[in-house]
Amino acid sequence: MANRQRDADFTEYVQNRTAWLRRVAVLLCRDWDRADDLVQSAFLKLYLNWDKARRADNFDAYVRAILVNLFLSEQRTPWWRTITLRREQLDEITADPAAPDVDHAGSLDVLAALGAVPARQRAAVVLRFYCDLSIEETAALLACSPGTVKSQTSRGLAALRQALETSHSPQTGTGGLRHVPGR
């Protein structure tokens, strides 16, 4: 009975929070397919640690922490382990060539610019400015000091800004984002 309740709760949570978690994931890894992989891995870990998650003060924060840790872990993971993880989740990893095209030009600009930001700095930026976490919350999630978060964020923002400016220079410009005056 307990397992049935857990499965029902898990299913409901996945259905309700997939879009949110995909958004965070794609900002981290810059690729929708990889984002789906990350999200599925995070949900699997959540399922395996359901009891622990339920005891967490903030359920969403717990899941987000799993996701960020998976992303960062992937950065330092030997390529073969990544293969294995993908292999283990083969039944979830799909591609849909028939999927309708969506105009993501602006999205791609930003995602490409995020690529200029090292992974850990990117995580700090995303957590601070998209997830709206405080410096202390970000530090806790990234297992580093608040000072490190500040420096990572600062460097990440500088790299992001430079990449955006480069991508929108007159030579390569595609229009779109503008730098907010006065900074």
């Binding site: 879009a19 789906d36 599925q40 073969w80 293969i83 989740q89 979830e92 591609a95 060539p97 090292p118």
Partner: protein, 420 residues
């Protein structure tokens, strides 16, 4: 919120201006996969708890002397490789073997040194549908998953799979399944290959399970670590190998997962420009691709520092810039090696080697936020092989730091590294 903050938030929000692309995330499939993993974990744990099988205990049985034993005599079924690939679209640069210790899956990946590249061959027990529920034509394919015959291998039908998600038919690209002559279900996965290529790879592959060699034997793993899987990666140019052992500590689904990874290589790997590294590539971010440079810009360095070795070491501070010829004679007979105490810093003696290795433990301090890992280096003086062992726990830095790993044995003859 400052203007700066608003700017960044607006930039990030712009990614989601349009509708989100279709997703492959499917709650039902996740649930099935989750149930299976939970079941497998519990099964594995109950089995391993009875035997109190620690990593070292398992791997001691895989020492060179024991490696010749037949599968099933040394925990051995868990250390099988699913045969070998024959024809491949392009020559592989490395291969990886994976064996789950509950024998639920054995697989091999041959491919390039890039993420996700290369075909993967997996053998699954023929009597179960646990590992890949959607590739179980005999055990009951879920109603929404439709196997389609696409050809034959050795006279046996080959399927690929698709399922319906909403109104869309989703094809599991790059994956075919067939029954092997040895009685397993073989799954070939290569996302880069088309159907004809997949069939040709399958037709030329040898799917006879064969033992694979684990030349490096760490010990000192925490008591109670239930071994889950062993992986071994080796470049075809014999420039080194990586291994990984993963397991779980503690009971219950919330147990810590502990991953021990290691690297062994000669004096230096080759940089992309063709020159050799002066020191072994020590990359705790784990990437052959990085050559001598560690990702995130950490420069090449001598992991032993300028003062070099641990007490008692005869290793010179300055290491040769070109690797000496490796010993290719006198294969070691290391089966007598015993695990050392986790707290011991005494170098372990690789049987068959005339010189004791120098072991130096180093705790890598947090660098750019990377969790610090316990690191044990071994320099086998006689043959200039460098070994790094990394202990990684996703959630517990303290666990990683306390899980000291010693090297109890190492196959000093490169022939020991060669897979059949």
């Amino acid at each position: 919120m400052s203007q700066d903050d608003e700017f960044v938030t607006a930039v990030l929000d712009k990614v989601f201006d349009g509708p989100l692309p279709p997703t492959a995330v499917n709650a039902e499939r996740l649930l099935r996969r989750g149930r299976h993993l939970l079941h497998r974990r519990r099964t594995t744990r109950s089995l391993s708890a009875a035997a109190a099988v620690a990593v070292a205990a398992l791997l001691v049985t895989t020492l060179p002397g024991a490696r010749q034993a037949q599968p099933g005599t040394t925990g051995g079924a868990s250390l099988l490789a699913p045969g070998r690939f024959g024809w491949l679209p392009e020559p592989p640069k490395a291969y990886t073997y994976l064996a789950n210790t509950d024998s639920s899956e054995i697989s091999a990946v041959w491919g390039n040194m890039t993420i996700g590249a290369g075909p993967q061959l997996t053998l699954l027990p023929a009597d179960g549908d646990q590992v890949l529920p959607n590739t179980a034509p005999v055990a009951g394919v879920p109603a929404d998953e439709k196997p389609t015959r696409v050809g034959t291998v050795d006279g046996n039908p080959v399927w690929y799979y698709s399922y319906t998600a909403g109104l869309q038919t989703v094809v599991l690209q790059g994956s075919i399944v067939w029954r092997t002559a040895s009685g397993y279900w073989a799954v070939l996965y290569d996302p880069q290959a088309d159907g004809a290529t997949l069939l040709h790879i399958a037709a030329t592959a040898d799917t006879t399970p064969t033992p694979f060699k684990v030349p490096l034997v760490p010990s000192g793993a925490p008591a109670g670590l239930s071994n889950e899987s062993v992986m071994l990666t080796q470049p075809v140019d014999d420039s080194g190998l990586e291994f990984s052992i993963s397991g779980y500590l503690g009971p219950g689904p919330g147990a810590e997962q502990l991953i021990i990874t290691g690297f062994a290589g000669d004096t230096g790997l080759t940089r992309q420009n063709g020159t050799k590294c002066d020191y072994p590539t020590i990359s705790w971010l784990g990437s052959y691709q990085s050559g001598c440079l560690i990702p995130n810009g950490v420069p090449e360095r001598d992991p032993f520092g300028s003062s070099a070795a641990a007490p008692g070491s005869t290793t010179p501070a300055t290491r040769p810039t070109t690797p000496p010829a490796r010993t290719t004679t006198s294969p070691p007979t290391t089966s007598s090696s015993q695990p050392t105490s986790p707290s011991s810093s005494t170098p372990s003696e690789p049987a068959g080697s005339s010189t004791a290795p120098t072991v130096q433990d180093t705790v890598i301090p947090p660098s750019q936020g990377t969790p610090s890992l316990k690191l044990a280096f071994s320099v086998l003086n006689g043959i200039d092989v460098y070994v790094g062992v990394f202990v990684h726990s996703q959630y517990s830095q303290s666990l990683a730091n306390t899980a000291i790993t010693q090297l109890t044995s190492f196959g000093t003859n490169p022939a020991d590294w060669q897979q059949p």
